[in-house]
């Protein structure tokens, strides 16, 4: 029997084509859509930087930490709801269909699903193998339409996450900000951890192990680490201009070396640059998967032709 399925039908569109298409989608979307994304994500990332900078000083009470964690968790929920609305707006722009968004339902669904990701994703990353599918599940959950029933929704999310694994893993490897964050964490924490375990470690071995961690981090997230390196250089140049005595410089540098707060700022900036594109990729991926069943892409094209005539 001759296999009549094309490569696109079997494995999804090529990753580079999908990323290119998502870039075009973002460019053609109204500016308000991207503003919506940043209105949702910037408060959380700014809050995270402040939270980190304050919490690394050990002279605070448990009540203060609890209050700060509560504010940050509310900002996290706000970000996830905003990202869901951003994906809905992108999907509306893509299909040309003006679907109404049930905000209250979106709030409940996103607040119920997304928090599990902060525990599930690190566990999946440690096990390594299911990370791509788990990541796709949460990305599709952010991009989903909250109008369908709960059981149908979860079934559809699972199907979308399992579909076209080659494309999904390639997008995750190239653009996932989570891998960049893990890479930066590994580079920051592993050398002091090894020195803590073996204080008499020779300098040559320290240099070699550090280089190995840096290479592994770059290979696990090449685009994110390149972006992180660019932001690091820019921040260091800005800090050198302001002088080492300023309060900002003292928070970001410790004895002339970048502090963990510096790393958090770099990770947040990389996240804000990469995540809108990742979300657009998963909106498109969901659209392509659904189109195979409902011909949504043809309906969208017809709608566009009708609007043009």
């Amino acid at each position: 029997m001759v296999n009549t399925k094309t490569f696109d039908q079997q494995h999804g569109r090529a990753t580079t084509a999908l990323i290119d298409e998502s870039g075009q989608l973002l460019r053609s979307a109204p500016a308000g859509v991207l503003c919506l994304y940043f209105a949702a994500a910037v408060p959380f990332t700014a809050g995270l930087v402040f939270f980190w900078a304050i919490m690394i000083r050990s002279n605070h009470s448990i009540w203060f930490a609890a209050a700060a964690a509560l504010v940050l968790s509310l900002l996290f929920v706000w970000m996830k709801i905003g990202q869901n609305l951003y994906c809905c707006r992108l999907r509306q722009h893509l299909t040309g269909r003006r679907d109404t968004v049930d905000i209250l339902r979106a709030v409940c669904i996103q607040t119920a699903i997304q928090p599990t990701g902060i525990l599930t994703l690190p566990i999946c990353l440690v096990i390594a193998l299911p990370y791509g599918w788990a990541c796709a599940f949460y990305q599709h959950a952010t991009a989903m339409n909250s109008r369908a029933s709960d059981s149908k929704q979860l079934l559809e999310l699972r199907q979308h996450a399992m579909q076209w694994p080659l494309q999904n893993h390639a997008v995750t490897w190239l653009l996932s900000p989570a891998l960049t964050i893990v890479g930066v964490c590994a580079v920051m924490t592993m050398p002091p951890l090894m020195r803590l375990i073996n204080p008499a470690m020779p300098l040559a071995l320290q240099v070699a192990t550090s280089m190995i961690f840096i290479v592994v981090a770059v290979l696990s997230s090449p685009v994110g680490m390149l972006m992180g390196a660019n932001f690091s250089v820019t921040l260091l140049l800005l800090l050198s201009q302001t002088g080492c005595d300023s309060p900002i410089a003292s928070a970001l540098l410790q004895a002339g070396a970048p502090s963990s707060t510096f790393a958090v700022i770099v990770c947040c900036l990389a996240y804000l640059c990469m995540d809108p594109i990742v979300k657009a990729c998963y909106v498109l991926r969901g659209h392509h998967i659904r189109s195979g069943v409902t011909a949504e892409d043809l309906h969208a094209r017809l709608r566009r032709i009708r609007a043009g005539s």
Partner: protein
């Protein structure tokens, strides 16, 4: 006998199906296929739309899961705060060697 062969809503039309829920005789126009069954309009509405208590229970369950999600995030950030406060200073300074 004639009454059983004619539609409940349209006495002039012949019966083509009987609703399995209400057992009413119906014409072609008055039945709809749902889940491999031919149902009348009122039974279809009952089947598709969840009853009010069901819907309310679902909303309460969803709100409870959402609250549990918020609690999970809060506990995660609280644990992060405690780890950050007690981590050695060497972990907060980028010194590869």
């Amino acid at each position: 006998m004639t009454g059983q062969n004619k539609c409940r809503n349209h006495p002039g039309r012949d019966v083509v199906a009987r609703c399995p829920r209400c057992t009413q005789a119906l014409c072609r126009e008055c039945v709809t296929e749902h889940d491999n069954r031919m149902l009348c309009e009122s039974c279809l509405r009952t089947v598709i739309q969840p009853t009010a208590p069901d819907s309310k229970r679902k909303n309460v369950a969803m709100a409870a899961v959402a609250a549990a999600g918020c609690l999970l995030v809060w506990l995660f950030f609280l644990a992060t705060a405690q780890i950050l406060a007690h981590a050695p200073a060497a972990f907060h300074r980028f010194a590869p060697w």
